[in-house]
Symmetry: C2
Subunit: 200 residues, 2 copies
């Protein structure tokens, strides 16, 4: 008995990023959030993803929750591990955009050199850097996860802002200040700046 599978003709054409983007109805980009612990990166990335998802875009978030406990669970917080952490996140982001997915990354990523490497690896045109700007004092006062307290007590070493630097982006694609403006205003600012860049 014949069925629909009898009419499959194997294509020589391999599916490419552009085919996957066409299927999704938008281009794929890496939206790279950088900022201090407690600045609001994950919150904003989550809200931006929710917005995009509701608009029908195909999205994914990479953050500490799914990366540190999984792919990067062999890495510690030494300088070399932190570099390797960012390298792998950039490599995985590159796979996601090749798959036609908009990927939002929410990691402190304190070093300019590492962020530049990520941009180079992913491709300049596909990389959108978002600086979530919030003074250290405010982040430390919020201290949502209690990490600043531990860092001040010396229980965590090389903590960004305390005994390890955060190198601010000079020319991020978007900068939002989560102390000067409301969360909703920051989200609107992100949407205004980023959504026009993902249309096909």
């Amino acid at each position: 008995m014949e069925d629909y599978r009898d009419h499959i003709i194997p294509h020589d054409h391999t599916i490419q990023r552009s085919d996957r983007e066409s299927k999704q109805g938008h281009v794929a980009r890496v939206i790279w959030f950088t900022g201090l612990s407690g600045s609001g990166k994950s919150t904003l990335a989550g809200q931006l993803e929710t917005y995009f998802h509701n608009q029908g875009y195909s999205t994914y978030i990479l953050d500490g929750d799914n990366i540190r406990s999984g792919l990067n669970n062999d890495l510690d917080f030494s300088d070399s591990s932190r570099k390797e952490n960012i390298r792998r996140i950039a490599e995985v982001s590159k796979l996601f955009i090749d798959a036609g997915v908009i990927v939002l990354t929410a990691f402190i990523s304190p070093f300019k050199e590492d962020r530049q490497s990520a941009r180079d690896l992913v491709g300049d045109e596909s990389f959108i850097e978002v600086h979530v700007d919030c003074p250290l004092e405010v982040c430390e006062q919020r201290d949502v996860k209690g990490l600043y307290k531990k860092a001040r007590a010396g229980e965590i070493k090389h903590f960004t802002g305390i005994d390890s630097p955060f190198e601010e982006p000079e020319h991020p694609d978007v900068r939002v200040n989560t102390t000067e403006r409301s969360q909703e205003d920051c989200l609107k600012e992100l949407i205004k700046n980023i959504e026009p860049k993902i249309g096909l």
Copy 2:
């Protein structure tokens, strides 16, 4: 002036795998191809992806081309590196299915233990093992990449089938034999067995 962005209400709801699967219109699965070098894994995975893509599914392939040169470019072919290679591929696959994407992996993955680890990590219900079965003699005769010749000459060490074992899956979800049946028949067999598993 008001615009549509004034009406965004940030949701508390974080987007989950099930939301992304609903958006894509299918569930996400890892289709894990295993078999000797030259057995036809990449070819079949590519054709299956093309078929799925043309059916409107959201798909991605992980293979040597995008993994060895990228995420895993720090790994060699030692036993520990081969284990780490498979671990990272499984972790990345897990991220992709969390993103609602059907991911096809095409790696020799010769060791039962590693394939079982991948299945455990991804989750049994999301993991479809495909054994691309082809006798060593045939793979070696094909020798598309000239690797068997090099392995026989001792220029490549620990080459699967030559001086490193391939542990055949005892109960793969699907097994196709690329010598006994045509490529098109193998593809049909894959579609027949796998497509019913990805409907929502």
